[in-house]
Amino acid sequence: MSEFVSGTLTAKNIHLSFGSNRVLRGIDLHVEKGTTASVIGPSGSGKSTLLRVMNRLIEPEQGDILLDGRSVLKDNPDELRRRIGMVFQQFNLFPHKTVAENVSLALRKLRGMSKEQAREDALAQLDLVGLKHKADARPANLSGGQQQRVAIARALAMKPEVMFFDEATSALDPELVKGVLALMTDLAKGGMTMVVVTHEMGFSRNVSDTVTFMDGGVVVETGSPEQLFTEPRTERLKGFLSDVL
């Protein structure tokens, strides 16, 4: 896997409420350039919301987001999102477009590439995820694992500095999980800065550089995989790990 121009991402004291429900209550997360941070925790702990706040799909009520040490809250949010790729649990490929068009759409419309150039770039990107031969298929004719790899190619095509994965393997049939995790591992080893919200404890433990355990909208513990998985300090993390492992 090629080298990436990655950035360092920092979230500082992020607060967010939906009505009276305080979803995020002062979250700090620091992801050093070229490293992978995994975020684990029970459902409803605010992990997915945190990702959406960090690329400003949802605006935080309080706190700051820094990319390469500079606050991005005053930037145009659309431009920020071009620098951060995101992969979703439900893939969210565009069903009315071919696989190649899914990948080339943003290149044409946002990067101003010609149709031919964008297709060429898209094919190269699809080749990296092993799906060049599916370029002219529709997403509905692909398996879940293939769809998720296309979604990863679509995000990578924009040459992002950071990649977000929101439970990218949770909707996949068990036998398809491995292919997607292998691709994510390649990206991590290639030096991409990644934030991975996941229920795959194996990935979290073996691939990520740091692990953050969230519960109830706060960071309960954060540290190296060894620390969190072998010597959890809090009862909450101990309980969570005994539930999922």
Binding site: R82, I84, G85, N92, F94, L142, S143, Q147, A155, E175
Partner: protein, 257 residues
């Protein structure tokens, strides 16, 4: 009166081939073109206005939403003939003073357009709202603004889903275009129904109505089948075989999407 006589009388009333034959050239020369112009013009204008209404209806601006709601409720709640009369007779004098034209034809198109916009707007809105929220989210995550994301990804999917309902609305419009006779159009502006009506009243025979019916059915039945065809196509998609994922093939079991 025995059965044979009844049948004979009905035959003379509705199937007077001479009366039908006499009205057909005028149907082709005047009636059909006018019906098509009325239906297509108001169909196109209604679709454009309908899209505007749909986007207002789902907008985050409460004023836009309210305007779309009130407009839709009123125009959908009135009998078509009333709307056509009110717009045609009410705005006629104003148009006459502004443009000098005495033809109610543009007002007929306007009335039909405004009516169909209300229905088409609701069709589009339901289609757009049925598109999964993840589509907008994924498009915005790539760095598109709200407008381009709607235009490039969400709206095309929503419209595709409601194509059958949209074509049904066009069928309704072809039929409703017959109501413009209440505005008293010039002889050259009359559509299928009124050509039939005129011929029926001068000849005292109802067969010209049968001729009109044949013309309407020739337009609407193919469209109805077109709707069914799109519907089937949308439901089943193009026939294409799913292939098992190669990652899955290693495990030995075909992948299900």
């Amino acid at each position: 009166m025995d059965l044979q006589e009844i049948l004979k009388q009905l035959g003379e009333t509705f199937l007077d081939w001479k009366a039908i034959g006499e009205v057909i050239p005028k149907m082709f020369a005047v009636g059909l073109p006018n019906t098509l112009v009325l239906a297509i013009a108001s169909g196109v204008i209604g679709t454009v206005l309908g899209m505007v209404l749909a986007l207002m209806g789902i907008s985050r601006n409460p004023v836009a939403r309210w305007i779309a709601r009130v407009y839709t409720d009123i125009l959908r709640g009135l009998p078509p003939v009333l709307t056509i009369l009110v717009i045609g007779l009410g705005f006629g004098p104003i148009i006459r003073q502004l443009s000098g034209s005495t033809s109610p034809y543009p007002l007929a198109v306007a009335a039909l357009s405004l009516m169909s916009a209300a229905y088409i707007g609701e069709i589009f809105r339901s289609g757009i709202q049925s598109v999964d929220k993840g589509q907008l989210e994924a498009t915005r995550a790539l760095g598109f603004g709200y407008g381009p994301a709607m235009r490039l990804v969400v709206v095309p999917q929503g419209v595709r889903r409601v194509l059958p309902a949209l074509v049904n609305q066009f069928i309704a419009l072809i039929k409703e275009s017959s109501l413009v006779f209440v505005l008293g159009l010039l002889a050259s502006e009359r559509e299928i129904f009124q050509i039939g009506k005129d011929a029926a009243s001068t000849s005292g025979n109802l067969s010209p109505y049968v001729a009109a019916a044949i013309f309407y059915l020739a337009l609407t039945i193919p469209l109805t089948h077109f709707v069914n065809w799109i519907d089937r196509r949308l439901r089943t998609g193009r026939p294409e075989k799913k292939e098992p994922d190669e990652a899955a093939a290693v495990v030995g079991k075909g992948a299900q999407a």
